[in-house]
């Protein structure tokens, strides 16, 4: 285990940012802390780095007790959300900083520092910019400088706080792929914080979904998306239809009995069924119970608004399928649910 978090609790006056959180980060993996703002993910990251101290709990870094250690002694690389580049230093000096401030005995020679910084700048493809100041760089370039600076001290773990948060959509996508590849090359244990589910699902080996200071679910991207452990995860990851229902004898009745689904048991009485739009099937049916109230084509996909006895539903399918069905707005249709999860209210 590279990082072991046990029972970490952190409060800011009345606000509980982290409520007895347990987490293990495996060596070499790329882990995402995913959650809405205020879920405690950044606080957890900052505690790992030693920038905050928890009110209770324990933290092991590579098997060593780390809570008593100052940030400078933890050997972690931290990439700040807004990069926190030293604005008065060139790109080169930014990256060299961590080596230059080492105590005399441990400090590499200036030739060695130069060699290593050059190597890192090559790695992040910024060698031509070594003499520039942060203000003269684009957002994506700054981000890469921040990464190189964090890697310069050869950290045992790399922590990234919303690494792509301040970038525009296109750069964000490019940089995401680039970071994934970089991680495959250097394989340093990495934890990154994000509120963007797409980013977490695409980039991470495992995703930790957080909400209100607690961990809702931990798993591979496929696991958390396909098998959400809670209503929160269902709603937070991807689009979802949220349908009030009543469960009797293992059957959930939705919208005055217009739809029924089998549940996996355990839930009784008033409940909520979660159905992903692509798990909602539509078939044209003259005199069917539902009506197509609108069709929106977005790129290769189509979003279909359905009115089922006053209940607004959303289905999703590709355009080919839509053409095959031959439905248009105003048509009557039948709907069926391929897959759903029911949670008690």
């Amino acid at each position: 285990m590279a990082i072991q978090v046990s029972g970490i609790t952190k409060r800011f006056n009345d606000f509980t940012a982290l409520d007895s959180v347990d987490l293990e980060v495996r060596s070499g993996e790329l882990l995402a802390l995913l959650g809405p703002s205020g879920s405690g993910k950044t606080t957890l990251l900052r505690i790992m780095a030693g920038l905050e101290s928890p009110d209770a709990g324990g933290l092991l870094l590579n098997g060593e007790e780390a809570l008593g250690l100052k940030p400078r002694d933890r050997q972690v690389g931290f990439v700040f959300q807004h990069y926190a580049l030293f604005r008065h230093m060139t790109v080169f000096d930014n990256v060299a900083f961590g080596l230059k401030v080492r105590p005399r005995g441990q400090r590499p020679s200036s030739a060695e520092i130069r060699r290593r910084v050059t190597e890192l700048l090559d790695l992040v493809q910024l060698s031509p910019f070594a003499g520039r100041y942060p203000a003269q760089l684009s957002g994506g370039q700054r981000q890469r400088v921040a990464l190189a600076r964090a890697l310069a001290i050869e950290p045992k773990v790399l922590l990234l706080d919303e690494p792509f948060g301040a970038l525009d959509a296109k750069v964000r996508k490019e940089l995401r792929r680039w970071l994934r590849k970089l991680h495959e090359d250097i394989h340093v244990t990495s934890v990154f914080v994000t509120h963007d589910q797409e980013e977490a699902l695409e980039l991470a080996d495992r995703v930790v979904v957080m909400n209100q200071g607690r961990i809702e679910q931990i798993g591979s991207p496929a696991e958390v998306y396909d098998h959400p452990a809670s209503a929160f995860v269902y709603e937070f990851l991807g689009q979802v239809n949220r349908l009030d229902c009543t469960v009797e004898g293992g059957i959930a009745h939705i919208g005055d009995g217009a739809l029924a689904i089998a549940t996996d048991g355990g839930v009784q009485g008033r409940a909520v069924a979660y159905v992903r739009p692509h798990d909602l099937g539509v078939t044209p049916a003259v005199g069917g119970p539902a009506r197509i109230s609108g069709i929106h084509v977005v790129g290769p996909d189509a979003r279909i608004d359905i009115d089922l006895a006053g209940l607004a539903l959303e289905a999703e399918m590709d355009r080919e399928r839509l053409a095959t069905l031959g439905i248009v707005a105003g048509d009557r249709c039948a709907v069926h649910i391929d897959r759903a999860r029911v949670f008690a209210r």
């Binding site: 006056n13 101290s53 495992r206 809702e216 931990i218 798993g219 452990a229 999860r341």
Partner: protein
């Protein structure tokens, strides 16, 4: 349903321990070092240089007792000085509010040659030692001075050694307060509102009165208040041009100096305390007024 045995955390789990929210901390923890050192130094230095000496003022004047204090600050000469200081500071601050606004407007809205130089010149009263301003104004407005002579010969106006001279010195001293307070606000005023008003058919004057003035009024009042407060305490630039006749052109700070020269420490302390108290009350009122205006103009 959910995967990965030990990793899975059941949702909605009750936390085992409920801890009462801890008391608000004296300080939010931080990894940055040096809090104790710098706060300790700051508070000690502040106490030695500012707080203890100011306390001495209160202690000294309280030595008179309430009735003694009241007698000391209500003699006709002191009351007259209050009138001179506050009245003329008010007049000067008002002048500055009007002309300061004009200067700010011109600096922000218009382009003309030498604008940057003029902008820098506005800070002159901040940078020029008050005594230098004092003798310069005094020389200018003296009966045989560059301005004093024509004013006297053409209009029969006497400026130096009259209340008017004091008001001019206080206007000089207070001008940058108004300009520097209003300038950033006027600069950051979004043009959209004015454009909207113009598209609705408002005239330039209506736009100024209805859109611009309300937006900069809180800043203007702040500038006025700062200029006013500075005027009450001002000494160096005034005493040369004032003539310093008790009851007519004697300002409060000068009265304090005179009492000190007569070794009337308690009397000086009493006048100083009263002056501070009245200034603070007035600043408080103006602050409240300003807050009220700001809340009315809040978006």
């Amino acid at each position: 349903m959910v995967a990965a045995g030990s990793d899975a955390v059941p949702a909605g789990r009750e936390s085992a321990v409920t801890v009462r929210a801890s008391l608000p901390l004296f300080r939010k923890p931080s990894v940055l070092p040096g809090f104790g050192l710098t706060l300790g130094f700051t508070v000690s230095y502040l106490s030695i240089i500012v707080l203890v000496p100011l306390a001495a003022l209160i202690v000294k004047s309280s030595g008179l007792g309430w009735s003694g204090f009241w007698t000391a600050v209500t003699t006709p000469r002191v009351l007259a000085a209050f009138q001179v200081s506050f009245g003329l500071s008010f007049a000067a601050a008002l002048t500055n509010a009007i002309f300061g606004l004009l200067v700010t407007w011109v600096l922000v809205r218009y382009d003309f040659p030498g604008k940057r130089l003029v902008d820098a010149l506005v800070d002159l009263p901040f940078a020029l030692p008050t005594a230098v301003a004092g003798i310069a104004l005094s020389a200018l407005y003296a009966p045989n001075g560059w301005l004093g002579k024509p004013l006297n010969e053409l209009f029969g106006m006497k400026v130096a050694f009259t209340p008017l001279g004091i008001a001019i010195a206080l206007t000089f001293i207070g001008l940058p307060f108004v300009v520097r307070t209003v300038q950033p606000i006027l600069q950051d005023l979004p043009p959209e509102e004015e454009e909207a008003a113009a598209s609705l058919g408002a005239s330039r004057l209506q736009i100024f009165g209805g859109i611009i003035l309300p937006a900069i009024l809180p800043a203007l009042v702040t500038g006025f208040a700062l200029s006013f407060a500075r005027g009450i305490g001002e000494y160096g630039s005034v005493i040369f041009i004032a003539g310093n006749m008790p009851g007519l052109t004697e300002i409060l700070p000068l009265l304090i100096v005179i009492k000190l020269e007569q070794y009337d420490y308690a009397g000086a302390a009493a006048v100083g305390t009263a002056m501070l108290a009245v200034s603070f009350v007035m600043l408080l009122i103006l602050n409240l007024l300003q807050q009220w205006m700001r809340s009315r103009h809040a978006r």
